[in-house]
Amino acid sequence: MARHNLGTVVQFEFTRTVKKRRFWIATLAIPLLLGLVFALVFASSSSTQSRTEAQKSQTVDFSYTDASALIDPAIAKAMGGRIEADPDTAVERVKAGTLNAYFSFPASLVTDPVLVFGTDQGIFKNGTYDAVAKQLVILSAQDKVGSPELTGALQGNFDTESQTFKGGQPSGGLDTVVPPLLFLVLFYVVIILLANQMLASTLEEKENRVTEMILTTLNPTTLVVGKVISLFMVGAVQALVFASPMAVAFVFFNDQLAIPDFDLSNLQFQFLPMLVGALLFIGGFILFTGVLVSIGAVMPTAKDASTVFAPVMITLFIPFYIVTMVVSDPGSVIVQIFTFFPLTAPITAMLRNAFGSLDGVSATIVIAELFIFGVVALRVAVHLFRYGSIEYSRKLSLRTAFSKKS
């Protein structure tokens, strides 16, 4: 009966959530918003790029003076420029509209700016003057150097390949850090998306006065576990929906959106860090679920629950205040406290695991601690639900709930 009922609870809880129009509005709002932002960035990026390209090749009618002696008159001429014969009146002529543009190249381009004067062409086209002036300097400098290799070197247009070692083995660098950090991202997504629903789902029985009907039909453990599983499934659906526009953007619009060009093939999925990350994720999920369900069982309404809910959620973010210490000084006292305090342990330990500073013993202790506290929290949650949810309109007294007899 219990197993059959677990399936029934999971199906009911999952179906009723995903059948709701409100769920899809809320779920689709984020990717739609992201899509909108991507579209704007795409449009803006395309426009800027094409404008820059156009400006680079554009010829503009301008005159110039060159105190640096860097500018090549032939290149300047090709770009529409000529040497200014009367520099003293050039700016006035630009103001009067009789001269289109005037550039004044200083003696030292390192210490002084190039002065650019132009007649107004509108907010977007006015950038053309700067672009042409800069392009003129770059082309003239390249011409003077006379070597594409040197020019490339000066501009930093080259790659490096590094290899570091730890204990005689390649340590992998950032390529080994990223995969275990995925569990951290997943943990944040799941908890942040589901926390409110965890709280609300147990409050619902109480607020709807359905507790007595449920408790005489169903084991509370089955109900709570069923709710947790269905929430996890709901979270997975939401995560997929949220991730889809990012995946599409990454695969198809990488260049246009200026997304850093990650070479995923370089990522190194090392077995132990991945295993530890997965166990920390599961243990942390169980712990936070148990704590949130307990809060829902104790408090009479969502409003009352929010006062306790907020501090619990803050513990998710506190470790980021010491993230530099977690990376650079993992042995410090504060990092150790955060590593082993149950509510801060998942985030801190996942960070340390990714950066390779969580040794085997510490990892074992934290994982064991998370699972033990998680199971205890879930059992407490079930107990509080059983004896707390009947207190329809008032906060449950923990003393009463945990006394041997009511």
Partner: protein, 313 residues
């Protein structure tokens, strides 16, 4: 299943909430197949007893058993419980909620939906199967809750103030359903303040006061315990005091007399006529449960202690 064993057995049940003693050594049985009235004023401990019986509260002390065992959700598929605090998942559709509870009570999805459709048809809610529960009126929601309670054809029905908030139509429906279940052999335990319902449906009753049984037995036995025989009298003249009766109600030309245990009706009639009273109407009756209820709960000092005929403590 031991048929001689009562379906519900409660013995020396105590329940304390912090320092407050709510139930104080309560004992009673509900036999298989009977309809049992669980009566008492507000706050006398009826709902607490039911919740403890169903494992929602933990008893401070005592034995509370259904079918010889402490209640567990294994018995849930054989139980129909209509709690005092009513409620279902209000944001879900009627059909979804009924199907869900049906499945939790051991029906297949098809069985649950078939029952739901038949029941909704019976209570004129067939056209509202797909509506959310919070779109239904309070009375309609009560009907749905009742349907959920009986959809597994329970062998034990526990109804806590079942007609509370029901209009006369729904009340009739509920009583019909209780009678149907009763005819099908189910055991019914009901909490109610409606004495006419008790007299219509119940074979035995218990009256609870301050967590203790004030009376317990068949309706006849309880009526006898509380001066069961009454004479309703129409008269002119003056009624004299007598050791054979006590005047319990006196209005203009009408009185009700409670007979002493040793007196009989004809003796009292002769005595009244002999005292010069002009008697125009004389009806011998038993005391109503309403009277007994008011006697027990209306005026604490007037309460009789019952003549114990069962395991009343």
């Amino acid at each position: 299943m031991n048929v001689a064993q009562p379906l519900i057995h409660i013995h020396d049940f105590h329940m304390h909430f912090a320092a407050k003693k709510v139930i104080d050594g309560l004992s009673f049985d509900v036999e298989r197949g009977e309809t049992f009235g669980f009566l008492g004023s507000n706050g006398s401990g009826k709902t607490t007893t039911i919740r403890a019986l169903l494992g929602i509260y933990r008893p401070t002390a005592g034995t509370l058993e259904i079918n010889g065992k402490v209640f567990s959700d294994d018995f849930g598929s054989r139980l129909g419980y209509l709690p005092e605090e009513r409620g279902l998942y209000k944001k879900e559709s009627v059909m979804d909620v009924m199907t869900y509870f049906g499945r939790l009570k051991g029906l297949s999805k098809q069985e649950a939906q078939k029952f739901s459709r038949q029941y909704l048809d019976r209570v004129d809610l067939a056209d509202k199967a797909d509506l959310r529960l919070d779109k239904l009126s309070g009375g309609e929601q009560q009907k749905i809750q009742l349907g959920v309670t009986i959809m597994n054809e329970p062998e034990l029905l526990i109804l806590d103030e079942p007609t509370k908030g029901f209009d006369p139509v729904n009340r009739r429906l509920l009583l019909d359903i209780i009678e149907e279940r009763k005819d099908a052999g189910a055991t019914v335990m009901m909490v109610t303040h409606q004495m006419e319902e008790v007299e219509r449906l119940c074979e035995r009753i218990i009256l609870l006061k301050d967590g203790r049984a004030e009376a317990y037995g068949t309706i006849d036995e309880v009526q006898n315990q509380f001066g069961g025989r009454t004479i309703k009298l129409k008269y002119s003249g003056t009624i004299n005091e007598s050791p054979n009766y006590k005047i319990t109600l006196q209005e203009t030309n009408y009185a009700e007399l409670s007979l002493a245990e040793s007196a009989d009706e004809s003796q009292v009639l002769r005595e009244l006529i002999g005292s010069g009273l002009a008697v125009s109407g004389f009806v011998a009756a038993k005391r109503s449960l309403d009277d007994i209820f008011i006697q027990i709960y209306g005026d604490p000092s007037a309460a009789h202690k019952p003549n114990s005929t069962g395991p009343v403590t």
